[in-house]
Symmetry: C2
Subunit: 274 residues, 2 copies
């Protein structure tokens, strides 16, 4: 199978950088007239996948909102991921997992191994335990032709102090971009990407050297406009994946409304990134 980075680059070149987020929070379900229940989750997810399959390269289900309903919520998530992939969408499981050793390996197997019920194309992870501690997840990804997005520069202000703490001569985030780049170079495939908030100012060089794709939250409801995204990310050769959740599902609850909104967001991003 082609690697995740190749599939992602082609899919976003064809359809554009927009990645729609599935965030079935109580408030969003309610705004669609749906119950905050397993059945509500199911209807929400079906409509999202149907609309997404017409308009975007990839979707990003937010695992927490399914996890609220335990095993039954996870059954809906399994069906959602499977249906989306069958429809040709790439699925990034926004799980923000993190652990060490055999536990890290288990998270890799849970989300990236092709035979697992929750198998997605890529997952998000957080690096507080050190990037090298996540290597069992990277191993699983390489084996499966899947991808991993490491949260490096988050969109929220509360993480800024830790992410910019000094680790020797480098900030934590610049050091992480460097470490990811080393792993991508060694693999001769940029299978590890980074999460970099649309609201963040950053130096292009370390991000470009990292080589992997960028998953960019913070567009729309979280405050950055398409123009902001264009100004900050234009010119980077990394594959760009710009996530919109509420800014997309606010258009709902009809599939037609979701398709129209996704097309509009897609167009605004394409223009801004030209």
């Amino acid at each position: 199978m082609e690697s995740f980075s190749v599939r992602l680059a082609r899919a976003t070149a064809n359809r554009g950088p927009l990645c729609v987020g599935l965030d079935p929070s109580p408030a969003t379900l309610s705004s669609w007239g749906l119950a905050d229940s397993v059945e509500g989750l199911r209807i929400f997810s079906q409509r999202c996948v149907e609309a997404a399959s017409e308009t975007v390269a990839c979707i990003k289900p937010q695992v927490a909102f399914f996890e609220r309903f335990g095993s039954q919520g996870f059954a809906v998530l399994e069906a959602t991921i499977r249906t989306a992939r069958q429809a040709g969408l790439l699925v990034i499981a926004d799980a923000k997992r993190s652990d060490i050793s055999t536990t890290a390996a288990a998270y890799g197997a849970a989300w990236l191994r092709e035979t697992a019920p929750l198998a997605a194309d890529a997952m998000t992870v957080t690096p507080y335990l050190g990037l090298q501690a996540l290597s069992p997840i990277f191993d699983e990804a390489r084996e499966a032709g899947a991808g991993v997005f490491v949260v490096v520069s988050s969109s929220n202000p509360e993480g800024r102090a830790l992410q910019q703490a000094q680790m020797g001569e480098l900030s934590v985030e610049v050091a992480l971009y460097g470490e990811i780049g080393d792993l991508n170079n060694a693999a001769r495939d940029p299978f590890i990407g980074a999460v970099l908030g649309a609201t963040r100012a950053f130096d292009h060089a370390p991000v470009a050297n990292m080589a992997g794709p960028l998953l960019i939250p913070g567009f729309g409801a979280q405050g950055a406009t398409a123009q902001d995204v264009g100004e900050r990310f234009r010119g980077l050769k990394n594959t760009l994946v710009v996530a919109a959740s509420r800014a997309w599902t606010d258009a709902g609850p009809e599939v037609k409304q979701l398709i129209d909104r996704a097309s509009a967001l897609q167009a605004s991003l394409r223009t801004a990134l030209l």
Copy 2:
């Protein structure tokens, strides 16, 4: 209901500081003669809970090993948590979750809200997004009388550089102990604890000021002896919870073997901490 910190302090005073970890990895299931399957998970978990209910204050299921089996693995985890709590055990869900805003709230609801299928007494979280970003999880915990353990000083060496990076005049970990202490003081209940690896040297003052309980991994299979734990943690007034996973389940697969091993580990820790 009494708060988690009160329940934990009483239970560990009665039974001792040992917290047994349920880590049904492929290797551990195989060493018990069990299949690496949902049925294997179920048998493993039942025996662990039966043995634990005789000997310890709390258990720590490692969520990743259940998550490998998707919704079916989560159904086993739900039953495991429920049975354990009915048997009077405190359950710390080792989930190492992390997110912001409504997503963080969803993780809190998933693991700490009494009506959720996976409701536990406490959960573990990681702070890369900033401690304040986790406040929706803390709010949920306070509301539910539950606890949260923040991974601050992990047992693995790969996390050291980031955890000791300089954030102004303080290291990341010392700053985190301070922030947790502020939240515990404001709540007048030390409902937020920290994960502090048994293999780590540390200054007592910031940890003591944090006031919350300590969850201590790294005992046994990961390298620290009861004596090491005694030397490093003796004298602290924080409630101590010392986790052992493989060092415990290696005794299996019979319930009697697990009870005997837990009793021996418990005794060695009590002596070392005197």
